[in-house]
């Protein structure tokens, strides 16, 4: 696959995936991993995990991970294509729903829709966490970092940058 074909593949995949990213960009992480690593072999597991980490360390919306994947696969233009594909269709959708929403506020189907999506979103986020953990935790020390962060963040409010800073220092020191 070269040239235009590659851009088309990127655009088609991310545009489709965006429409199924319910509950936010992180819900799509397992699907992006499945396709980019397992199907297309654009990245290795380790590269995917590092890409995810870089996106987490960058300020801004979580969706920015798709820019980095596009850049990795097909340069700056690739990053532009994946970003626009991931945002375009859902933004059009949001624009028109946003303007119409006053009309269906409080409707029974509106409530059923949002309540019905909660457990699905939960399953997707749990999958994201699992996929990231299984692509990153190759040593028992990495598992300890995941478990330790999960427990700490469950019981106390942790700013993500603190968690990342501690983890990065432990990793750089060779303790992971």
């Amino acid at each position: 696959m070269r040239g235009g074909g590659l851009y088309l593949t990127l655009a088609a995949f991310f545009a489709t995936t965006s429409l199924f990213a319910i509950g936010g960009a992180n819900s799509a992480v397992p699907e992006i991993h499945r396709y980019a690593v397992n199907v297309q072999h654009w990245l290795t597991d380790q590269q995917f995990s590092e890409t995810f980490a870089l996106a987490q360390l960058t300020p801004g919306p979580n969706i920015i991970i798709v820019t980095l994947i596009g850049y990795h696969v097909a340069g700056v233009l690739g990053g532009l294509v994946t970003t626009l594909a991931m945002c375009g269709p859902t933004c059009l959708f949001a624009y028109f729903i946003g303007r119409a929403s006053d009309r269906f506020k409080g409707a029974a189907w509106h409530s059923a829709l949002s309540r019905g999506l909660v457990p699905v979103t939960l399953g997707l986020l749990a999958s994201s966490a699992t996929v990231i953990a299984t692509t990153s935790d190759y040593s028992w020390r990495a598992l300890v970092i995941t478990a330790g962060t999960a427990l700490t963040a469950f019981f106390v409010r942790v700013h993500p940058l603190w968690a990342f800073g501690v983890a990065a220092a432990l990793g750089a020191a060779g303790l992971v």
Binding site: P59, P89, D102, S111, A112, V158, A167, G171
Partner: protein
Amino acid sequence: MTSPAQIPADSQTIPASPATIPHPDAAAPPPSIGELFVAFAKISLSGFGGVLAWARRMMVDERKWMTPEQFNEAYALCSFLPGGNIINFSIIFGGRLRGPAGALASLAGLLGPPFVLILIIGAIYAHYGELPVLRRALTAVASAAAGLMMATVAKMARPLFRNRAVIGPLIACMTFAAISIMRWPLPYVLLAIVPISIAYAWRRPA
């Protein structure tokens, strides 16, 4: 834009309280296209792992472009639309105030700065990504990020498992198994499971 005539008719059903300001005009004058861009660029650059808190601070506390109620309503809408929640929020907010140009300015403010930043980071990573120190640090950050997500999931799951509910947790577990164990494609899984989940929610009103 919603016509002003609709708002009073709608708000008559809500008992007036000092905390409820029914219309954006009551809060502050609507922002210009340029102000929208700058506001969302600031939100974007200050937000690590969760831009929501910053969006709320900017929109409700600092600029007073929205009341807390309006923010909650808009955010609830965004979280059930597909795509990034904060991205949808920028589109809906900018679009309601300034039409398509406002939506585009908000989106450009939100995505532009991190887009440039991540390309720079990506270029540096392409050069130095093989350094063992960097690899180990990044892998550790990913491990920590997975942990943070697990904590979020656990917090979100608590209300779902109350009231001896069975179907909600079952749907969450089925989604989890289909995506992360079976590794089935997301569209097929959602096309199968979302209608069931919504139908169940429909039959059992909250």
